[in-house]
Subunit: 477 residues, 2 copies
């Protein structure tokens, strides 16, 4: 097992398995113009938003347009025991789509149809390349919406594969709670269905939840059935500044413990506010800030807001400002979603080493304050944002990718942050997944017995280790 | 593959694997007074609430008092490749704990301590033998409660193992949503932990959700970490009678589609009302009835109740009656929870063949009405109850267990009901699990590819097939 900083420097997991020329010509024959081994496309498909920049790209890219395409591509790779790596939009943060063992990138972004909208059942079924914004655009007139919103406009297949969440999870849950059923192409190219459109089921092993978060290592998701939610009758948003992050976090802890059904409560620190102001042309007060949103009936929204305002004031909150008009709210939330890009832009040429810890809510202040102290002491530019209602917060260390020492120090800070939250009963990743970057952390968190169980499942379902190999844990077929 | 009615008649899955005398003496040596091979205890541990009465009991019973006990018992059985069947309180409905391949019953009911109450994080950690009522009793003074409530006062380990739910699931989710983390003894006797106390995580495969609903076939649950919920500020309950089940169901469909956050909405048909009146000394109007409960702030409860009352009246609802006092509410819900026992008592000597279908909400009226028509035409005494807010409903056919023809006709009706809901996008089991009784249905629902994937996982995690073998699907080591 290599520590993450060794990986970041030397990428020892890169062990390119040779892709047989026969596979490339068979794929070219089957897929024609949907196949490419051009350098530019390969490089585009060999890079994500992770801090890794030196991994060789995949040998070729296949653009799937149907489940049959996916099945055929997987079956051909299976015959040649060559790796195949699903690709949505390239927004993963932990190296999930990097071709560390070579192989074929399977781009599903052209599988972008909304297949069924069943508002009367509060469900939709989509192809994996549909993005979250596209889905909400397509169901805009139905009175329903899909709440899960990672920062990027990610594909729903990718979001299912990494068990993504975002700002609305505190009220609406994550992809774990919102994926009802899947169509999956297995490692042999077989097409199976998991789950049904019924809201609950006790029918055997929960294959849906096993696939959600498996990062493409157990199969390729080719259809996703999702829960949608009635658009709330009333929506109200507010921002509030605090003297310190501790004051902001203590406000959140009390909101959650009181059971206020707040829809969103996001922390952004002063560094993030500065970056967001510059990037999104805003003039927010450059102090730790909570962005909040309340959903419900007009009366319920008023009740929630009153309760929260009292708690915030008790914790030193100032400038409690309401954003009632949709356009004001949208500007605020767009700014929040752009915080990552704003921060990276604030140090030109940088890559972000983004942490993703999540703790039981009572330990949130302790975890955040200690992490911020270390980050401040390091001198490395950083930003902090958090889905704090869930106990989830990210520090992004904005490193110069060519500065090995800075990278190593950022990774060391990442490690300290993870060790702290594991000791507090938390997890190393709330929503970004393990990918390449957190394999050592998963060992610490799940223990050798837990990882051994994951490995046994992988071996059973993908005996030749062709499905996105080298991710989540080390294993050789 | 045998159809369920063949199973019910002939129990062809009964293939007792001999339990080596050496295992029995090793268990007796290790466990002393916690071990018994007495006939009465064996028979008690070889019977549940399923319609199967002819399966030979396990060879012996071990009463575990600690995780170490469980680990040692499993390790001894593993060494001798003998089946081991976890036992909570014996309330399973589908034959989950029957010793169809012989072996040892592992009774965890003495592991009944609440290990941690973390109200500030909205979590508790319990041993698997703690029952749902015991948990709520122990946290009564904290202002929190645990909402999942199957009819029986089941153990929380058993509820996790069957992915149970109940009347509150429409608002609070099922065991799938409310189990955060587990301690599990694997088929080799190793102790692992899955999940953490953090509210969300993307750390590798979701082993917690894989174990929840695996019915003891992948490991023995030895600790359960659960979400608890703040006791609502205001609670209000109501009953309302309807001319037909269709009117009642249409009311529910509209409530759900409008997004009313109702906490409970239960249907009981006229047969069930009659049985409940007799059993619980009540005088409810003997018509289809909805029992409802609203949770929230006083204003929100009022809003919900007003909306629902309008919908109910539109659908012919009469006698909308409020139960404001806790003792009245408790009496109503106790009556609902006793509906199963009341119905079985209404035909002395009967066993219930209980169906458990669940459909997307828009198909609920269609599914219920067709099922009731068939049940009425059959002449077999039956009752209908449903967690209709989730699309889940049960018909219980009250059969004479010695009447093979009646049993076969009831199983045929069960099959027709399942085929109908599968065609409507539903599931054969909302909350009772597959056990012995629904293995053929699981094949239809998940398809051969889905069941093959489950079997591959079973083989990987329990290669000698010792963990509750012969359940969920057919498989031989």
């Amino acid at each position: 097992m290599n520590a993450p900083d060794d990986l970041a420097r030397a990428l020892p997991q890169v062990r390119q398995r040779p892709v047989p020329p026969a596979l490339l010509s068979e794929l070219a024959g089957r897929f024609g113009a949907q196949f490419s081994d051009g350098q530019a496309l390969r490089e585009q498909h060999g890079r994500d938003e992770s801090p890794f920049v030196d991994v060789p790209p995949p040998a070729a890219v296949v653009f799937a347009q149907s489940t049959e395409d996916v099945s055929d591509a997987v079956a051909l790779c299976a015959r040649h025991k060559a790796p195949i790596i699903p690709f949505g939009i390239g927004s993963s943060l932990e190296g999930q789509l990097l071709a560390v063992q070579g192989g074929i990138s399977l781009d599903v972004s052209r599988m972008a149809r909304v297949l069924a909208v069943n508002t009367e059942d509060l469900t939709v079924t989509v192809q994996p390349g549909v993005t979250r914004e596209q889905l909400n655009e397509e169901i805009r007139d139905t009175g329903f919406f899909f709440p899960i919103d990672p920062g990027a406009n990610a594909t729903l297949g990718g979001m299912a594969a990494t068990r993504a969440s975002g700002t609305n999870a505190v009220r609406y849950g994550t992809m774990r709670e919102n994926v009802l059923a899947l169509q999956v192409v297995t490692a042999s190219g077989e097409v199976i269905r998991t789950g049904t459109r019924a809201k609950k089921s006790s029918a055997g092993y929960d294959l849906t939840r096993l696939m959600v978060g498996s990062e493409g290592t157990l199969g390729v998701i080719t259809e996703v059935t999702l829960r949608i939610h009635p658009r709330p009758e009333a929506v109200s948003a507010a921002i509030c500044s605090f003297p310190t992050v501790a004051d902001a976090v203590n406000t959140v802890i009390q909101i959650v413990q009181l059971g206020v059904p707040i829809a969103r409560v996001e922390l952004i620190d002063a560094n993030s506010v500065r970056a967001v102001n510059a990037y999104s042309k805003l003039s927010l007060r450059e102090q730790p800030l909570l962005l909040m949103e309340f959903h419900g009936s007009p009366a319920s929204v008023r009740e929630q807001a009153e309760t929260v305002q009292v708690i915030a004031t008790d914790n030193g909150g100032a400038d409690f400002e309401w954003a009632e008009r949709p356009e004001d709210r949208n500007r605020l939330w767009a700014a929040r979603h752009n915080a990552y890009f704003a921060a990276v832009a604030s140090r030109p040429g940088s890559r972000s080493i983004t942490t993703d810890t999540c703790v039981p809510i009572s330990h949130l202040a302790e975890a955040v304050v200690a992490t911020v102290q270390e980050a401040d002491a390091s001198g490395i530019p950083y930003f902090l944002v958090g889905h704090v209602g869930d106990g989830n917060f990210h520090i992004g260390y904005l490193i110069d990718p060519d500065d090995a020492d800075e990278r190593a120090r950022a990774e060391q800070l990442n490690r300290q942050q993870v060790e702290r939250v594991l000791a507090l009963g938390g997890t190393c990743t709330g929503e970004h997944g393990i990918g390449l970057h957190k394999m050592a952390f998963l060992q610490q968190e799940a223990g050798s017995g837990g990882v051994a169980m994951m490995r046994a499942i992988k071996q059973a379902l993908d005996p030749d280790n062709i499905m996105n190999p080298g991710k989540i844990f080390e294993w050789d077929a």
